[in-house]
């Protein structure tokens, strides 16, 4: 039993916490389409809310890729965010990115970096450079032990190698128009570092120690879901972590949380308010809806499915 668990009782449900403060979480104008290409991943990160990993078979099919493209043609999005699992491991990834690049001014590809390897890498990065795809890479810590405790052995040096490769292709370089952003999640049941201070330190040390440059760093809390939730419960950290997130509730973060302006499509084409609700099995509008069947987009004032994991997005600086 940890110190934190000795100190805390059950946390107030997120919905009641909003109610008590006279707050609500409603949709704003939809801007972003998030596409999850599948749960197959070459890594099995211990904080992964989707429990992605090498043994997962769930993968977006060619038919669903076409349905996503048809959807994005019908409803233009300011941003389209492609994620996984490891999107690089979906055999239709180039078809998906190629189609989406023509339909949005800002296409994002999330990568664990390590999956950006082998024969596909050159072709994929060549495409990303040509289409000015923003690459958002997971890079949790500047410390090898912390990074590998979260992501697995050998990942730290391979990630640095891929970052240097991307820099070599122009990513992160001034005036290249090729944006390379990093995401840092805490390696455990504690709050993320202040984003601005963390970014300053990452810029300084990544450049001085490893010659790596990048554009922006996002520092986010881990969501108490999936594999991370199981670890929290096994370690007796769950209640303490939830209490910590709740204690750090920041009402001003509500405006910017991703679910207000985003719609998330899972590998099988079903829709959610966000990636975390996908992991929690909370469908958009509380009723399973397939992307091919959605005729009207959710709009300002519409309800968002909420649960206790929402404390992760409203703690501290928030999750945008």
């Amino acid at each position: 039993m940890t110190t934190m668990d000795n100190m805390t009782t059950d946390t107030e449900p997120f919905s009641l916490s909003l109610e008590r403060r006279g707050l609500s979480l409603k949709r704003a104008k939809l801007m972003t389409l998030q596409v999850n290409t599948g749960l197959l991943c070459n890594l099995a990160c211990r904080h992964c809310h989707l429990e992605a990993g090498p043994a997962r078979k769930e993968m977006m099919s060619a038919a669903t890729v076409q349905q996503v493209l048809a959807f994005a043609r019908r409803f233009p999005f300011t941003v389209i965010d492609v994620t996984g699992g490891a999107p690089e491991m979906n055999p239709h990834i180039l078809d998906l990115l190629g189609g989406l690049a023509e339909l949005t001014p800002r296409l994002l590809l999330r990568s664990n970096l390590v999956a950006m390897s082998g024969a596909l890498r050159e072709k994929l990065v060549e495409f990303c450079c040509a289409a000015k795809v923003v690459i958002i890479a997971s890079f949790p810590a500047l410390n090898e032990a912390q990074a590998e405790a979260q992501r697995g052995k050998g990942v730290f040096s391979k990630s640095l190698e891929v970052l240097r490769y991307l820099n070599g292709q122009g990513y992160g370089q001034v005036d290249s128009g090729l944006e390379l952003d990093l995401v840092s999640n805490p390696a455990g049941a504690f709050m993320p570092a202040n984003q601005e201070a963390q970014a300053h330190r990452f810029h300084e040390l990544l450049h001085s120690k490893w010659g790596v440059i990048f554009n922006n760093l996002y520092s986010f809390a881990n969501a108490p879901l999936g594999r991370f939730e199981r670890w929290l419960r096994q370690q007796g950290n769950y209640q303490g972590y939830l209490a910590k997130l709740a204690q750090n509730f920041n009402a001003t973060s509500l405006d910017g949380v991703m679910c207000r302006r985003l719609i998330s499509v899972a590998w099988d084409g079903y829709l959610y308010d966000c990636d975390f609700n996908q992991a929690a099995g909370l469908p958009l509008g509380r009723v399973p809806t397939h992307i091919s069947k959605l005729d009207i987009l959710p709009g300002p004032g519409d309800a968002i499915a909420i649960a206790d994991h929402c404390y992760a997005c409203t703690a501290g600086g928030g999750f945008t």
């Binding site: 100190m7 570092a193 202040n194 201070a197 330190r201």
Partner: protein, 110 residues
């Protein structure tokens, strides 16, 4: 089991102000100001606090500043080095007093 130190007391720290609110306010205002970023960053200040916590062996402070250091972006290697700094100063403080022992011993010895 009853112990003098209770982890559940840590979040109740502010209760120390219940019977002396003005002094508590002065202390907590000062405490808050000390940990604001200044010439040193918040991360650096948390590492110093962690080292001091070990030097004064305060279990509340060790608990609190272990979490604080991690949340400011430090890692276990940095935190362990910080504790070695405290240990070196503590050990050095004992050892330098050895000169006092030697002076006294020399004075009264043949």
């Amino acid at each position: 089991m009853e112990t003098y130190y209770k982890p559940s007391d840590l979040p109740k720290f502010a209760q120390i102000g219940d019977d002396a609110p003005e002094l508590a306010k002065k202390f907590f205002d000062y405490y808050g100001a000390v940990f604001e970023p200044g010439e040193l960053s918040e991360r650096e200040k948390s590492l110093i606090a962690l080292a001091v916590a070990h030097a004064i062996q305060c279990p509340y402070c060790i608990d609190s500043y272990t979490q604080s250091c991690l949340e400011k972006g430090s890692n276990k290697a940095e935190m362990t080095e910080a504790i070695h700094v405290a240990t070196a100063i503590r050990g050095g403080a004992s050892l330098i007093h050895g000169l006092q022992m030697r002076n006294i011993a020399d004075k009264i010895s043949l």
